[in-house]
């Protein structure tokens, strides 16, 4: 599988979708993700797990940040910075796909 490496173009309107071959489960204090195709495991902490769970349905980065800002005492800018970084990592690991926004005609 080829993964998109660049996250520099990630915008708030990008649609984030979990990849179909990823199974996840809560285990003690972390969320473990497994790639069925590659047989690799990944673990994220409670905040990462919550973010992952919010992606059970595809959603935009803006929607994701909005939801997280409601759950945590964090500024919108700080939330966007941290989530953008996290989403970039998930993308590099092949756990999610990012669809750019459709440009208006």
């Amino acid at each position: 599988m080829t993964h998109e490496k660049s996250t520099s173009t990630l915008s708030l309107k990008c649609l984030i979708t979990r990849n179909a071959d990823i199974v996840s489960t809560d285990m003690n204090a972390e969320t473990v993700m497994m790639s069925i195709e590659r047989g690799e495991f990944y673990g994220v902490n409670r905040v990462g797990g919550l973010t992952w769970n919010l992606l059970a349905q595809p959603r935009t980065l803006a929607s994701l940040c909005e939801e997280l800002c409601l759950k945590f005492d964090v500024s919108e800018a700080e939330c966007q910075r941290a989530v953008t970084h996290f989403i970039g990592e998930l993308q590099q690991l092949g756990l999610i796909s990012i669809t750019p926004p459709v440009e208006a005609a």
Partner: protein, 375 residues
Amino acid sequence: MNPDAQQSTLPRWPALEQALDFNALAPGVLPLVQAIAATDNLPERLAKMALLMRERALERDARLLARAAIALAPEDYRIRVMTDWLVRREAPLWHFGIVHDNLRNEAYARALEHFVKPGMTVFEIGTGTGILAMLAARAGARHVYTCERRADVAAAARAIIERNGLADHITVIAKDAQLVELGRDIPERADLFVAEIVDDTLLGEQVLPLTELARARFLQPGAILLPRAISTIGYLVSGRGHRERYRMGEVLGFDLSLFNRFSPPEIGLPKGGDNVEPLSAPMELASFDLMQDAPKESRRTVTLMATQSGMVEGVMRWLRLDFGEGIIFENRPPQTSSWSPILHVLPHPRFVRAGQSVSMEVSHTRDRLFMIPLS
């Protein structure tokens, strides 16, 4: 749990449901297993997942997954390597050491040949490979009941016993001795008890409580015990650097001596004693008649008189198993065996002249023997 996991397929590997109890898995682990149940390289994935569970301290799940991997691919060496942590836990490496100990084997074989009479029933604690049970059967025992707490080892012993044509004469009970039931696992009290449950230190494998358990629950009054007595014998030894191997001083210009707070008061020596030089005559330091209940604790003073001058590093001791009728096992150095001698080090090496003495306090609990220098 995410919705994807709940939609996973049922196992495609027909043997998986026999190899793995899905209901026993932690709820968080189950969806991962279900997701890979239909993959071609399932055994390797299970073995890898077992390692993941170990990292997360989910020991029970790790064991279940590793066992399933082995069951699905018993001949796959990759799986064997990835699950060695489980195999080692079930069958420690000392099993290989003791069966190559001819001195030990011959002592037990002679004792069993001598004491087992046709028609006798035999009870054993600690089946291991089944070698002692088979020796007892070969010596004429009507039946041998032997218990082994490690289920995998018990299964291997059963297979070995069957291969050697003795399955009709030996019953392997896959239970801890404490859980064996008279009238259920063993039909009647046995006439003879055999066990090899001593370690390098003598008492560490619970020989005292387990022999007492056997006498109280599973043996006829006056049953023969093999061995019937155990002891440890030792002498003063001169310094050959054993103590220094477990101490630190200056290394590469740094003073590491404060680490000596962790230096051990007793050291397992290489088998055969590594050419230590005795400075006194051998002396019995502690002895236990297994026909009697041992005291919970005891304390006595032993005095070892130097027969030649030298720098005393400590007291080296070894094992003696007395089977009766002159049949004795003793790994007195330089005799090698699967048991290693123990060196009780003095806090500071001491020069003694021939005729001078070193006194030691020897005490024990149910499973430990202590030696503390007094003078």
